[in-house]
């Protein structure tokens, strides 16, 4: 049984998804989905423990040996992310039942959970797989189901947002298969481990360079790096709140993982730095993204859209860590990956709870809610503080490591810019605080109550995680460092 954990991780949610359609009764489906996601979480925790104590776990699908068959390969990096993704997914699902119950008509609940579990399958699959083409397939499973999740939103703009994401996402995925195809053409293998050994002989080849270019652009579309981010704000703003919380906390993180995997494990950082000015490109795009998105966030009227723009800015910080190209920089990226998932999970769930009560995500409808929904609102404030990077929150930890890495590399002007950009975060978080606590209400609030417990518990679970991992950084920093070390030390 334990030997099959890597594949069960993916198969359990994959088989559970169609089973949801058979169950049909929304309440049952909701509980079933939580159980499935919790199972995935338990399996991934066991896997991470196994990886930390015994090293890399390798699983051959169907017993076919590696270069021919598909191989699942779990090391510190993806073991850590598996726990994160399945954990967040479980917490979000706990809040799902009431929130989805309010936001979607009853006949669509089952579809929501089916798409959700398929999306989870795709994301976990991308993380565990050791095969480049298999990665594309899982990527498309995750993407197709997230288009559905977004299109389920009740606002009609959800449809256009989903359509736009479908076009951009498919272009991204097609670029990725062009890249994989070129790699296969040159090396005759799709196995990531094999690729990493065969590529160094042909680094000079222009085809390899081309493969790398296509692949990177494709992945950057998926992770919404600055000029390729246009699909993201509307998709997050008009999707059902639960879908937004899930996607914002997980899907772009997984895309960043793919980027890290290909840059560090497969092509190798030396190839990337010597053959292309990737470091400079990433630096410029990341900074431009951080500033452009933070400034756009300040002017948003819809609070979901506001945090969507802030997500783009946060992705900028992650890419900045990669641009540094040192072990410290990579540690900062990995830490921010984890921490940002906690922040955005908490924030979007809290917004979901407000939408549950007042049925709006327009910022001006939030006026005066500070007194009516104190717990939810304080969760938004703590999440906002974490985004800014105030000490005692996770945001501080990741900014600290990022700035340390920048100073270590000697890029102090960039470090100054990072700190300046935090001030922009102060502005947009303050705007929310002002509306919530210091503006007289615009709509009648007399019968508005605090969010139900089934939503407050997951929200505060994530908020407390924000605070806990902001103080006790042993687990997150420890694992990030180990993962960064293994990526720099030995190639996969």
């Amino acid at each position: 049984m334990t030997a099959h954990y890597p594949v069960l991780q993916v198969i359990v949610p994959l088989l559970a998804a169609p089973f949801c359609l058979v169950l049909r009764i929304p309440r049952l489906v909701a509980i079933f989905a939580i159980l499935v996601s919790a199972t995935a979480f338990l399996i991934s925790t066991a896997l991470l423990q196994q990886v930390l104590s015994h090293g890399i776990v390798i699983y051959e699908l169907g017993g076919w040996a590696a270069p021919w068959g598909i191989e699942y390969r779990i090391d510190q990096l993806n073991g850590y992310l598996l726990v994160l993704i399945s954990g967040i997914s479980t917490v979000v699902l706990i809040a799902a039942q009431s929130s989805i119950g309010r936001e979607l008509p009853e006949n669509r609940h089952t579809f929501f959970y089916t798409a959700y579990l398929l999306c989870l399958t795709g994301l976990l699959g991308i993380l565990v797989t050791g095969d480049a083409f298999n990665l594309f397939v899982f990527l498309e499973i995750a993407s197709l189901s997230s288009y559905i999740l977004i299109a389920l939103g009740t606002d009609r703009r959800a449809l256009t947002a989903s359509y736009q994401y479908l076009i951009m996402g498919t272009i991204g995925a097609t670029f990725i298969i062009i890249g994989v195809g070129l790699m296969y053409m040159m090396t005759g293998t799709l196995n990531m481990h094999d690729l990493s050994q065969r590529l160094p002989e042909i680094y000079k080849s222009r085809t390899v360079l081309c493969a790398f270019g296509f692949f990177i652009v494709g992945v950057c579309l998926k992770l919404a790096l600055f000029p390729l981010h246009l699909w993201l704000p509307n998709a997050y703003a008009y999707a059902p709140s639960i879908a937004t919380a899930f996607l914002a906390a997980t899907s772009t993180k997984v895309a960043v993982y793919v980027l890290i995997r290909f840059i560090f494990s497969i092509f190798g950082i030396n190839f990337v730095i010597t053959s292309l000015p990737l470091s400079e490109i990433f630096l410029v795009l990341a900074l431009a993204g951080i500033f452009a998105a933070s400034i756009s966030a300040i002017y948003q009227l819809n609070i979901k859209r506001l945090f969507a723009y802030s997500s783009i800015a946060q992705i900028g910080y992650m890419i900045l860590g990669l641009a540094i190209g040192t072990q410290l920089g990579l540690t900062a990226t990995l830490l921010h990956l984890f921490n940002h998932a906690l922040m955005k999970g908490a924030l979007f769930l809290a917004i979901g709870a407000v939408v549950y009560r007042i049925n709006s995500s327009q910022l001006h409808h939030y006026a005066g809610l500070g007194k009516k929904m104190p717990w939810t609102m304080s969760a938004i404030v703590v999440g906002g503080l974490s985004l800014i990077g105030v000490p005692l929150t996770v945001g501080f930890v990741s900014k600290w490591y990022l700035v340390t890495a920048l100073l270590d590399k000697g890029w102090w002007p960039v470090a100054v810019l990072v700190l300046l950009s935090s001030l922009l975060a102060v502005v947009y978080v303050w705007r929310i605080v002002e509306w919530i606590y210091f503006t007289p209400p615009r709509i009648i609030l007399t019968d508005i109550q605090e969010a139900p417990l089934s939503q407050l518990i997951p929200i505060w679970l994530l908020v407390l995680a924000n605070l806990y991992f902001g103080v006790d950084t042993r687990l997150t920093v420890g694992v990030s460092k180990l993962a960064a070390q293994s990526l720099f030390g030995v190639t996969l």
Binding site: F133, F136, V137, E140, L144, Y147, I148, A151, R156, R157, L159, T160, S162, Y163, L166, I167, T170, I171, A173, T174, I177, I178, G181, Y184, M185, L190, L301, N302, Q362, L363, H364
Partner: protein
């Protein structure tokens, strides 16, 4: 360099560019999907032609056959075709719903309607008619 000998890649590149151009340039949502399909199909051609060897047969074990084409890219493309079809189907389903919700599938008309919604919520947030007019002008 043998430019004509690589004609299969030329076809692929030209098809990719045609597909990509349609996706970017056309306003109509269905035409965009057509472009996307051409774009994806070009990539399928690329994979298939990579695996093909001139004069080779399908990989069937037989003493009279010596040279086999590589079947793996062909299998991969079977998977990719399935993915492509589901993407197109989902895209078309979305277009149907967009037509129902907006009464149009021309991109600029959708944008106009969305902008209108946006202005209305701005009006609601910041109040006065005067500000609304200023926003409308800019």
């Amino acid at each position: 360099m043998n430019i004509l000998g690589l004609y299969n890649y030329w076809i692929v590149v030209i098809l990719i560019l045609i597909g990509f151009y349609i996706v970017i340039a056309h306003e109509n949502l269905i035409k965009k999907l057509v472009g996307l399909t051409i774009f994806q199909t070009a990539v399928f051609f690329f994979y298939i032609s990579v695996g093909k060897i001139k004069g080779a047969t399908a990989p069937i074990l037989n003493d009279s056959l010596q040279v086999y084409s590589n079947p793996l890219p062909h299998c991969l493309i079977l998977t990719a075709i399935v993915v492509g079809i589901s993407t197109t189907a989902l895209g078309l389903a979305l277009v149907v719903r967009i037509q129902e919700a907006y009464g149009s599938i021309e991109e600029h008309e959708l944008h106009a309607q969305d902008n209108n919604d946006q202005l209305e919520s701005q009006l609601e947030a910041y109040g006065t008619r005067k500000q609304f007019n200023i926003m409308k002008r800019t």
